[in-house]
Point group: C2
Chain length 232, copies 2
DNA sequence: ATGTTGGTAGAACGAACGTTCGATAAGCCT
DNA sequence: AGGCTTATCGAACGTTCGTTCTACCAACAT
């Protein structure tokens, strides 16, 4: 009640202006803190990262942090909410005007992967700390995720109908998410393809499988066992 | 040095007998503790679970636990090692004698999913706490995982060669792992199909994609939005 | 000059952490 | 009966945890 923590476009429930000239000083500082915190959460996990770690990363005193948010949990909430809202927003923009069902699915994949690779740390936190948030915060994030799932399911259903196919949309969609999300465990920007190429390859596998040879695949350099892999 | 912690087939590096009449009392007790600990780690995460939580779950005093292992980290190591070794072992058995490349890939999927669904909690711990283990323990688990990956890559390469296909094996294999591993985030035994059916569906997607309608698919009951889903 | 506000930090809070210690039985070998 | 070994425990260790209290300072308004 007597807490000084501000409301703002980033942190709070209010402020009509989403972006008032790049945001207030408060917003900009908070955004920087969120950035650093994301990195730390990604490296050490939510429980494993201490407020002292975050303070060190932000180069601000432990107490100073609490001027910008009320608790460690709220901090995680802010990170997750911001990250996910951005993905959803971009997806809606890109989907507009495209009619072909297969193309729409490919756009979904491309959008997902692009954001994933550009914000690997943030999405790792989003994915890895899925069930940390309690009650209020948790269900809000869960709602955004459900909406995202619903959109993907719709796209796949459109495709199914357009081509008169028969398969479980649920399994297909969740398999697709699995393929895409797993990326954060193995992708290395120095050696693996970029989002566009990966989206094409994964789109091919999802839509046509590995058994049907597809044209125009850029021949991959043979890699003995290669860099990082994760099988679980 | 003066630690009383025993060596045994489960916990230690020694003991010639792998299984002396169902295991010694020590082994059986440790196995039970591992079971309980797996459950707790699964629910609260490795960092989030305290030794006191584990003590409560095992109905043994905090101090009593340390009779069976030297540290929390070693406990996680024991869980991961046992779980993964079992999967690998079963896979090798099943692969024996099967020649057809496509069938061999399907066996891999089936084995993976079967173990996944039968030991959901254990594999969640294995997957979720991937990079918690330090140095010695970590690299030993990593080695087992790499071997598992290598086998899968080999199977896919055999298939590729047999059918004269052209695609990136690395991307294909890692996509396949993604599809399969993601299951632990959404599978609900009360509503989703069993391992065999799922293995067939995922095998179909991986091998032929969603666009090629496959025969004999048991018509799925339409589900509005269904139970748990995870998109990240 | 003086008061108000926005931002920062040192020091401390009680609680919880992983781990260890020393004691205590019960079971077995002689 | 006496002495090991196995198994278990309560209590405490020192450390770190998330959070809060209070004071301080710079900037601006009066």
């Amino acid at each position: 009640m007597a807490s000084p923590t501000r409301s703002s476009s980033l942190s709070g429930r209010s402020s009509t202006r989403v972006s008032a000239g790049e945001g207030s000083r408060f917003d900009r500082r908070l955004a920087k803190i969120l950035e650093h915190a994301t990195e730390v959460f990604c490296d050490k996990g939510y429980e494993g990262a201490s407020m002292r770690d975050l303070s060190r990363a932000s180069r601000m005193s432990l107490a100073g942090l609490y001027y910008y948010f009320d608790s460690k949990e709220k901090l995680l909430y802010l990170i997750q909410k911001y990250t996910f809202s951005t993905i959803l927003e971009r997806l809606r923009e890109r989907l507009e005007g495209v009619e072909d069902p297969e193309q729409r699915v490919r756009i979904f994949i491309q959008n997902h992967l692009e954001y994933f690779l550009a914000n690997q740390k943030a999405v790792k936190v989003l994915s890895h700390e899925d069930d940390v948030l309690k009650n209020g915060y948790g269900s809000e994030i869960a709602a955004i995720k459900r909406e995202y799932y619903r959109i993907c399911l719709e796209l796949v259903d459109e495709l199914k109908q357009a081509q008169g196919l028969e398969f479980s949309s649920r399994i297909a969609v969740l398999s697709l998410f699995g393929m895409m999300n797993w990326i954060y465990t193995w992708h290395n920007p120095r050696v693996d393809a970029d989002a566009g190429e990966l989206a094409r390859e994964m789109g091919d596998i999802f839509l046509h499988g590995v058994c049907r040879g597809r044209g125009g695949s850029v021949p991959q350099a043979k890699r003995a066992s290669g860099p990082k892999v994760r099988v679980m």
